[in-house]
Structure formats: structure tokens, C-alpha cells
């Protein structure tokens, strides 16, 4: 177990290991995404109140769930990088930030598209939407801070500090936005139509969430591999590995 974790910290070993992992995980992700989308978009019954427009939740909800989890992946990698100064943790954090930002943006955009026919407006300052928007800002802050530093080792440590502070702050932000919203809007208006989701709709949704987690891991790994290729482009082990395959 421990040797496995130690090995993960070595760039050449990780490069080889992630190559094998991606080769298996990529087809699985594609199959899960295909099955989930077909099930959700074609097979699952239409909602009795929203008709077919509700089907966007099969993209919206998984994106939002994984976007949140992605921040914790990033912050955890940041903590590892700060404490043990492991190069691969830097790479993980660096690779997770843009993926998380894109997922957050997807969740916001699909939410807006769904909101137009359902609520009659593209945007409301609803508590959850607002906190997703702030999450997007937090991600963009990490990406921008990394790009601003010339020295990439220092950049990774600065981003680690920022993402850790952000992680401590996220629950506070969520709670405060929640209270802010409940003060402004009467509680009688409930935006989410369905109180309990039927299993015929729930199963494809769960499948899509799993698919999005796999997609996150695959994208993260590919991103990390690209990062490794760039930073070790001069070194022997990479030439050897790439020459092999």
C-alpha cells in the first residue's frame, strides 16, 4: 500500500501507470456516458410538469456534483504538495483547476438553459446558483494565479495556499449565501419542482454521475500527462517511454 503511494510520486512511474489506467478508463467512460445519455434522454419518462426540458439534469447535476468534488481534489493535492513537496501533487492540483472550472461553467450554462423554459428567465440570484458562480471565481483565481507566476514551483505553492484557504471558506460561503437568499425570497416559492425523484429517472442520473466522475478522472490524468510531457520534454526517461509506444 505505502510503496504504491510512494511510487505515485515518481513522474516516470506515474506516466506509465496513468497510461495503462487511461487505456482502460477511457472506454469505460465513453460507454457509461453513452448508456447514461441514451437512457436519460430517450428511455426515461418525461416529467409530468416540465415535459422533456427536465432532461438537461442528466448533464447539469453530474457536472455540478463533480465540479464541487473537483475543488476538494485540488485542495487536497495542494495540501499534499505544501506538506511533502511532492512534484506530482503540484501537477495534480494544476491539472484539476481548469477541469473543475469547465465543469462549473457547464453546470451554470445548462442551469441557465433549463431555467429559461422552466422559470422564464435565464438567471436568478438563487442561493445555489450564486454559490456555484463563486465556486467558478475560486477556480478561475487559482488558474490565473498559476499563470501569473514565472517560477512554476512557486506558482504551485501559491495556488496550494489559495486553494486551502478557499476550501476552509467554501462551507462558510455556502451557508452565508443560503441565509442571504432565505432573507430575500419568501420560502413559499420553491424552484425545484420535484420533491422526490422517481427511480426511473434516478437510475440514469446516478449512472451519469458515475460517468462524470470517470470523465473527471480521465481528463485529469490526460491533463497531468500533458503537463508531464511538457515539463520533462528534455529528459531521457520520457523520450524512452514515448519512443517505446
Amino acid at each position: 500500500m505505502w510503496t504504491f503511494i510512494h511510487k505515485l510520486g515518481s513522474p516516470p512511474w506515474f506516466f506509465r501507470f496513468s497510461g495503462t489506467l487511461v487505456r482502460w478508463l477511457l472506454p469505460i467512460t465513453v460507454i457509461l456516458l453513452l448508456v447514461g445519455s441514451i437512457w436519460g434522454l430517450l428511455v426515461a419518462p418525461p416529467d409530468f410538469r416540465q415535459g422533456n426540458s427536465y432532461r438537461i439534469i442528466y448533464i447539469h447535476v453530474p457536472a455540478a456534483v463533480v465540479a464541487l468534488a473537483g475543488y476538494y481534489v485540488m485542495a487536497f493535492a495542494g495540501a499534499v504538495s505544501l506538506i511533502w513537496r511532492i512534484k506530482m501533487a503540484d501537477v495534480t492540483m494544476r491539472a484539476a483547476a481548469p477541469v473543475g472550472a469547465v465543469l462549473t461553467a457547464i453546470a451554470l450554462v445548462t442551469g441557465a438553459i433549463w431555467g429559461k423554459p422552466t422559470w422564464g428567465t435565464w438567471w436568478v440570484w438563487d442561493a445555489r446558483i450564486t454559490s456555484m458562480l463563486i465556486l467558478l471565481f475560486l477556480y478561475l483565481g487559482v488558474v490565473a494565479l498559476f499563470e501569473a507566476y514565472e517560477n512554476k514551483t512557486a506558482a504551485a505553492r501559491a495556488c496550494a495556499v489559495l486553494s486551502l484557504v478557499g476550501m476552509v471558506n467554501i462551507p462558510i460561503i455556502y451557508k452565508s449565501v443560503d441565509w442571504w437568499y432565505s432573507l430575500h425570497q419568501p420560502a413559499s416559492i420553491k424552484f425545484t419542482g420535484e420533491s422526490a425523484i422517481d427511480s426511473s429517472m434516478l437510475y440514469p442520473l446516478l449512472l451519469m454521475i458515475v460517468a462524470f466522475y470517470c470523465l473527471f478522472v480521465v481528463t485529469l490524468l490526460l491533463n497531468m500527462r500533458a503537463e508531464l510531457v511538457w515539463s520533462y520534454r528534455e529528459s531521457g526517461w520520457l523520450r524512452q517511454l514515448v519512443g517505446d509506444s
Binding site: I134, G141, A144, Y149, V161, V165, K175, L183
Partner: protein, 232 residues
């Protein structure tokens, strides 16, 4: 490492650093006056932009005052560690056998006294100008006193992260604004609650909790961020 002088106690270090920074602020009174002037001028813009209707201004006043205070603190925090970084005294502090978190906290405290504290003290005046009902003035003062502690210390973190980056100002706002959201919400809600005749104590307590919590935790992050900036 051998030293011919015994180590000072952390309290002495904190006090000396506080006084040193305080004196350097005193040498340029314009730096103290500018944020207040900024606050004043932006407050003036709102009646010009929104129209002078007193009733509408009064309802918007808590939000306006708090947002402008946030912007003013954002503007001044960009420069917090800049001069120390440029003249090398930050490097000396990092080499000194005292935790950077403590010395940084001393600087931040002196900075807060010269900016956030003064801004909170004069805020009731601007509240009156915007027609904020008198019941909200004291809450505005207290909420800004507590809130500017959070704003200043989070701003100091942003400043520590960006001090070695050219044109870090815009980046600073991107880093800091999301972290300041809870402070803004608690502060404006407290003032609005007081204006409506309710009891703002729970919101002020939340602000106080945030202020104390960030005083404990954020200096450590500031110390780490300063070391990163010095290494890069």
C-alpha cells in the same frame, strides 16, 4: 546558528514590528487619507447615478456603504507588503528567528488601524448622507469595525500572494472577492436588520466569529504565501 543576543519574546517582536509599520504609515498621511477620499467620492457617485430620491437611497444605503468599503479595502490591500518587499525588509523578516505569521500580523494590524478602523469610524457620516435611518448607524459602525478586520486580513493574504507579480492588482481582486462574500453578506444583513427594527446581534456575532477565526488562521497562510513570494 549562534547569536550574541537572546531571542526576544513574541510580544516584543509584535509590538516593535507594529510600531515600525505604524511609523512608516505616519510618514505619508496621503496614504491614510486616500482610501477615505475614495470612499467619500464613490458614495457621492451613487446619488448621482441612481437619482436623489431619499427613500430609495435609504433602502440601498446598507449595500452601497458595504460594497464601497469592500472596494476601498481591496484598493489599499494591494500595496500592503509592496514597500517592504521592494526595500528588502521582508527578506530580513523572513530570515529573522521569529514566525513570519506574527510579524505579518503586526503589519496587518497597523495597516488596519490606518485604513479599516478609520473607515469604520467615519462611516456613520456617510450613512447619514445616504439617508440611512438613524437606527442603523451604530450597527453600521460596529459591523464595519468587525468586517474590516476580515477584509484587511484576507486582503493581506491576496497581497502576500501577488506581491512579486507585476500588475498583480487585477489578479488580487479575482483572488479576494470570492473569499469576501460571507463578510459582505453578514455585514449588509446586520445593517438592514437594524434599519428594519430587528435585532442585528446574531449577524454581528457571526461577523465577530469570522474576524476572530481569520485572525487565528489566515496569518499562517500569509506567512506561507510571503515565503512563496520571496522564493519565486
Amino acid at each position: 546558528m549562534s547569536s550574541d543576543r537572546p531571542l526576544l519574546s513574541l510580544r516584543t517582536v509584535f509590538l516593535r514590528q507594529f510600531l515600525r509599520h505604524g511609523r512608516s504609515i505616519m510618514t505619508s498621511p496621503a496614504d491614510v487619507a486616500n482610501p477615505l477620499l475614495f470612499f467619500f467620492m464613490v458614495i457621492t457617485l451613487f446619488p448621482l447615478g441612481l437619482g436623489p430620491d431619499p427613500a430609495r437611497l435609504a433602502t440601498l444605503a446598507p449595500g452601497i456603504l458595504w460594497v464601497v468599503a469592500l472596494l476601498a479595502s481591496l484598493m489599499v490591500s494591494a500595496k500592503l507588503f509592496a514597500s517592504d518587499f521592494e526595500d528588502g525588509s521582508l527578506e530580513q523578516l523572513a530570515l529573522a528567528p521569529y514566525p513570519l505569521a506574527v510579524t505579518a500580523l503586526a503589519e496587518v494590524s497597523a495597516h488596519w488601524l490606518a485604513t479599516g478602523f478609520l473607515l469604520a469610524l467615519v462611516s456613520p457620516l456617510f450613512g447619514l448622507m445616504l439617508g440611512l435611518p438613524e437606527g442603523g448607524l451604530l450597527t453600521l459602525l460596529v459591523s464595519l469595525l468587525l468586517g474590516t478586520i476580515c477584509l484587511t486580513i484576507i486582503g493581506a493574504l491576496g497581497s502576500a500572494l501577488t506581491v512579486n507579480i507585476r500588475r498583480g492588482g487585477l489578479l488580487l481582486s479575482l483572488l479576494i472577492i470570492p473569499l469576501n462574500v460571507p463578510v459582505l453578506i453578514f455585514g449588509t444583513t446586520a445593517v438592514r436588520e437594524a434599519v428594519l427594527g430587528g435585532n442585528p446581534e446574531s449577524w454581528l456575532a457571526l461577523l465577530g466569529g469570522l474576524a476572530l477565526g481569520s485572525l487565528v488562521v489566515v496569518p499562517l497562510a500569509i506567512g506561507a504565501a510571503l515565503r512563496v513570494s520571496l522564493d519565486s
